[in-house]
């Protein structure tokens, strides 16, 4: 993990998103798919915390060596400011942060699911999987055509791609869940990766549990720091031995997690947020085949 004053090399509007390319060799060198960066807000603003962005591209070789790219989905003051940042301005960036996706040692057929800006992290992952000779199939979803991030890129990276939009303006009408079962069949999926809003991830997790497909998902939780100082970003994760659960920090123990061990109800339930521990205790979650420590490689 490094801290850099990184110059913005270029910015680009892409549908609903803005991509920022930074000159940040020390971070780019180390960044892996699933990891993120923490970007400081400018001084003098009333919004003070860093904002967090998944690494979309980290170039170690070629003309772009030393550059780092991330994708901004402008939804509030922080992302709005970043989306309007200009080339040659500098950003205070810390990264790469968090645990990256791990690659399967033996299994080959990978289905990658992305919703909205989740595609940024998923395409980076796809590249690395391809470099490891895995088969990649994708399911990409978004509310509308504008919000489907780089559909051409998805095509380029995968054997098959299913694009789904809620309004049907691109690909099929519906969400990623509507296309996922078929994609799993088609690809003879052995492993699943996903980056999506947490309610979607929860449904994906259920599917994976039902079908016993080992999976890794990139979660998001509000972060106070991004490097483990504050315990803001916790996700309840069942212990392997069934002795209960731990509130693990998404920023250091995540953002990539095993969805089978995340206690989704506890994490995402709307109300009451203050859940009693169920009388029966926390569910015991054992590893599925292929999901034990030994099955993955960093």
């Amino acid at each position: 993990m490094r801290r850099a004053r990184a110059e913005i090399l270029s910015t680009r509007r892409l549908g609903a998103y803005t991509t920022l390319t930074l000159v940040a060799p020390e971070i780019a060198e180390r960044a892996k798919p699933g990891q993120f960066v923490a970007v400081a807000m400018p001084k003098g603003r009333e919004f003070i915390l860093r904002r967090h962005f998944a690494v979309h591209q980290a170039s170690r070789r070629g003309g772009w060596a030393g550059t780092l790219e991330f994708v901004v989905d402008a939804s509030g003051p922080g992302t709005g400011w970043l989306a309007n940042a200009r080339a040659h301005e500098t950003l205070d960036v810390i990264g790469p942060l968090g645990r990256p996706f791990a690659y399967p040692k033996k299994l080959t057929n990978c289905v990658l699911v992305a919703e909205g800006r989740g595609a940024a992290t998923i395409y980076f992952l796809a590249q690395e999987l391809l470099a490891r000779h895995k088969r990649v199939d994708m399911v990409i979803g978004a509310p509308d055509m504008e919000s489907v991030f780089k559909p051409i890129e998805a095509k380029r990276l995968s054997q098959t791609v299913a694009v789904m939009t809620a309004d049907g303006s691109l690909g099929g009408r519906g969400g990623v869940l509507d296309a996922l079962p078929e994609a799993l069949e088609r690809a003879k999926a052995e492993v699943l990766y996903a980056a999506a809003p947490s309610q979607t991830l929860r449904s994906i997790a259920e599917l994976c549990v039902a079908r016993r497909i080992p999976a890794q998902v990139a979660v998001e939780e509000r972060m106070g720091c991004g490097y483990g100082l504050c315990h803001s970003c916790v996700v309840p994760v069942a212990r392997k031995d069934g002795s209960g659960f731990d509130q693990l920090r998404a920023c250091v123990d995540g953002p990539v997690m095993n969805p089978a061990r995340v206690l989704w109800d506890r994490w995402l339930s709307e109300a009451p947020k203050v859940l009693p521990t169920p009388p029966g205790g926390v569910p015991v979650v054992r590893d599925w085949p292929g999901t034990g420590e030994g099955a993955w490689r960093a």
Partner: protein, 320 residues
Amino acid sequence: MAGVKRSLAVDVGGLRMVTPVLIASGCAGTGKELAGLVDQHRIGAIVSRTITVASRKGAPTPRIAETASGLVWETGLQNPGMDAFVAEELPRLARTQTPVVVSIGGGSLEEYVRLTSALQGRPEVAAIEINLSLPDDEMDRPILGTHADRVSEIAGAVARSSLVPVFAKIPGGCDDVAGLAAAAVRSGATGVTLCGSPPALAVDAVRLRAELGAVAGWLSGPALKPLTLRAVFEVARALPGTPILASGGVRTGVDAVECLLAGAWAVQVGTATLIDPAAPVEVAQQIARYLKSKNVASPSDVRSRLRVPAATAPTQEARR
């Protein structure tokens, strides 16, 4: 005064630090996170997250919400409990070579006493900070430290069983800060931390919900600085000579100097550390530059040096 020998080192009631800048409780991780982000030898001290007798899962998420120049937080004091802390986290914190102040919190006198005992004889503990912002289980009150009698009782008991300096962290948002501070110090506390985060709430109007999973929370960040300065000022005037650690809204060296001028002996940096892990070191450097600009030797030379009219309570004067 050209040859003045300048040093940032301070001795706050027996807590010796290389700089007058601590990382506030709950904002310093668990011992390994800061490595690589900041030079830990140049941090005055680290205050641990608040430790309780039993382990706590803490509050549901979201645990933070941004507000204007601040944030509302409620971690629910997630911590591994005192035994696991002493066994694992404390040695790890100590390995950073930064002095460790352990923050303790309970709902009853007994819990505070047990926590203090658990820390005795541990050379890693440079001082104890008593978090008094927990609910009072015995008296059934929402915040224990808002009552002087309870502050006395608990600070007294902790101080009696502690061999290291003890700082009582007075809850934020109390009208009689000086009275509470006096209660702590008179019953044996070495000094006070002023103050904890005051009770706060953030609301999501679109979803008709509280922003935090725990509903209510506590305010931190730059928004607080004027309240911190006032608390420090009042206590320093009411209890001259009492070691004061300022906490709340310190982000820059200038903020820190303002606290020193108002009467603080050292400052804690919480939210600013989350945003910029190097902040505690930069704040110290900026203090050093300030001391140089004023040609004085030590942080204690500016302590309580705010120039004020000779008269009594400022509120009163202003109102005449």
